[in-house]
């Protein structure tokens, strides 16, 4: 079966390489669209906009804290993306929170412990995040509010090579977008 997808070739402009003694950094700056001030501040920094933004940021901040209090993450068994009963109980509470805060969108990050190959773990992390997403959708959360992303084994929550660290790293974390 052949699908045709147009390649949106978003050629990322190459920033002029800054030449140093022996090492040269090429490109990259295209990606430094830093998170700070992602809202446009087109010239006239109208104070009301600033205020709105800071209020929004504040409420987002407190919502994030509340989400953590509710429980922002579920854990998984080794090489598994299955939700156990305790995970489901936590996600029930999480979905109540998400319903109340209906103006917020969020991202589910899937993660793995270090005991797998990089590419397989990227897929496994995506499975874990999707398992959480699917459960929340069944609980009535609008799928358009949810994004998933997998980090595989790239972002451990706990650094270490023991059962405790591994168990905490096999996780899916819900964060406010």
């Amino acid at each position: 079966m052949i699908k045709k997808i147009f390649a949106m070739i978003g050629a990322i402009a190459l920033l002029s390489a800054c030449e140093t003694a022996s090492q040269k950094v090429v490109s990259g700056t295209a990606a430094t669209s830093s998170s700070s001030g992602s809202g446009s501040t087109s010239g006239s920094s109208s104070s009301s906009v600033d205020k709105k933004q800071s209020l929004f940021a504040e409420s987002k901040q407190s919502a994030a804290e509340k989400l953590i209090a509710v429980g922002d993450r579920v854990l998984f068994d080794y090489d598994s993306a299955a939700l156990d009963s305790s995970a489901k109980i936590l996600l029930d509470a999480q979905s109540r929170f998400l319903r109340v805060n209906s103006d917020l969108n969020f991202i589910i990050e899937g993660h793995c412990d270090e005991r797998g190959t990089r590419e397989y773990n990227l897929a496994l992390g995506e499975q874990r995040a999707t398992a959480v997403r699917d459960y929340l959708v069944i609980q009535g959360i609008d799928p358009d509010r949810i994004k998933v992303i997998s980090y595989g084994k790239e972002r451990p929550a706990v650094v270490g090579s023991n059962n405790m660290a591994w168990s905490k790293n096999r996780r899916a974390v819900t964060v406010i977008e």
Binding site: C18, A31, A81, E126, Q127
Partner: protein, 446 residues
């Protein structure tokens, strides 16, 4: 406007090849590589003589690079120049072989460097059979002066090929992921270097996560996974223009990319809705083809050199194992049946073997087996070893190795290593900071 990467990297070549091969039978001093661990062949690499200015210094440096390459292959032993009786001679001069044979030397390399102008040099070398008292091969090259290192690699390959009967692998590069910072906030950058670690350069600045770079068949492009704007997708980095292009427009994460042998397609995984399957994208017409259709994880695909087959790993049977299929996705068969999990299969350049990562009882291994799964041999092991990549002659594998981290959250070492497929001579590749996900280039185009 500063120079593009291409100019920096590839501007070095305006090679005028002048290859003269003497057809004398050299079997008496040839190395038999396939007979397992061999006694290294003693060779002498005389300093290349210069004519003026810095050419003497360049000559010494070229000799040193050649010596390091040949010795590093494990198949040669370089006799210390301090032991030489005779001074270095020009390659046009027939050496006095009795000056060399008493030292046990079987092959002698002589060479010269001439400054042509401020920017160009002429490098010449000749390989001599000390026992048969004859010359075996010679080469004269005119290049930009700053390309002297590349010339040394090209000469190394010529010598290696003449004496071992196998193709060389010295005029090649490595792209890899340079790592720094604490484990939970690792900064990862694409970096590229010569096969011996020289000419190290960064390609990305670390502001976004990058993983799993792989070369195109021409070595001019690299395909890799980037978390640009926090959307993990496959990109292509063009070393000539320095541009990075997003590959296609997919609804989910694309990852695990590799070029097809002809370079006209990228094969990769797409993860969407909890399912990871294997796809190809034609780079000429952007046509996308789905090759697997399972509810499992199918990833880490790699083409056979003739592009007729694909190997990949899948958990469709319950645990992660290696499978083979036709290039159109038909006839899927499992080929790994040993203990543990099998991953990251990658086909050898000549097709006779596949290399893989194996996980068993909390240990990782790098191994090779035939494409039908027979003849498994494990070459390296560690707390974590992963991601083998082949030298273009199929005699050496590179991979990365992570020590078991100390549980203080700070110290862990991840480094690049190479090993002979005989399982001997595991050697660390020195990089400016930690390194992972290496990929060996094909032979560089002349």
């Amino acid at each position: 406007m500063t120079k593009t990467l291409n100019q920096i990297l590839f501007n070095i070549l305006a090679l005028t090849f002048c290859l003269y091969i003497n057809d004398v039978n050299a079997d008496d001093i040839r190395i038999k590589i396939n007979s397992g661990q061999v006694e290294p062949l003693p060779v002498a690499i005389a300093d290349f003589t210069g004519n003026e200015g810095n050419s003497n210094q360049i000559g010494r440096q070229i000799s040193e690079v050649i010596s390091n390459n040949l010795v590093g292959s494990g198949q040669f032993k370089a006799v210390e120049s301090a032991a030489f009786i005779a001074p270095p001679t020009s390659p046009s001069v027939r050496p006095n072989f009795t000056d060399w044979s008493p030292l046990g030397i079987k092959a002698l390399v002589t060479g010269s460097v001439k400054n042509i102008n401020n920017e160009e040099i002429e490098v010449e070398f000749r390989l001599w059979d000390v026992i048969a008292e004859t010359d075996l091969i010679g080469l004269r090259l005119t290049v930009a002066s700053k390309a002297w290192r590349r010339v040394a690699h090209i000469i190394s390959d010529e010598i290696f090929e003449r004496l071992s009967g196998d193709s060389g692998y010295f005029d090649t590069r490595i792209v890899y992921v340079s790592e720094s910072g604490p484990q939970n906030k690792r900064v990862k950058r694409l970096a590229i270097m010569d096969q011996d670690g020289e000419n190290h350069q960064y390609l990305t600045d670390g502001s976004f996560l990058v993983l799993t770079p792989r070369f195109s068949p021409t070595s001019q492009e690299i395909t890799y996974l980037a978390y640009f704007k926090n959307e993990p997708r496959v990109y292509i980095f063009n070393l000539e223009t320095g541009q990075q292009e997003l590959l296609g427009s997919f609804p989910g994460m694309t990852f695990a990319p590799r070029f097809s042998p002809s370079g006209d397609k990228i094969i990769m995984s797409l993860a969407e809705k909890g399912i990871t399957d294997i796809y190809t994208m034609n780079l000429n017409n952007q046509e996308v083809e789905r090759l697997t259709n399972s509810n499992s994880i199918d990833t880490s695909p790699s083409y056979s050199p003739d592009a007729s087959k694909i190997i990949f790993n899948s958990d469709r049977g319950g645990s992660q194992q290696i499978y083979i299929m036709d290039a159109n996705g038909k006839n899927i068969k499992r080929i790994s049946f040993g203990e543990g999990r099998y991953a990251t299969p990658v086909w050898a350049p000549k097709g006779e073997l596949i290399a893989f990562t194996k996980m068993h009882k909390n240990k990782f291994y790098i191994g090779v087996m035939a494409p039908d799964g027979s003849g498994e041999r494990l070459l390296a092991e560690g707390y974590l070893v992963e991601g083998p990549t082949w030298a273009p002659n199929g005699r050496v594998l590179m991979y990365f190795k992570q020590d078991r981290p100390v549980d203080d959250g700070k110290s862990t070492n991840v480094n690049l290593y190479k090993i002979d497929i005989t399982g001997f001579r595991e050697t660390r590749i020195i990089t400016p900071s930690d390194g992972s996900d290496p990929a060996w280039s094909p032979m560089l185009p002349n």
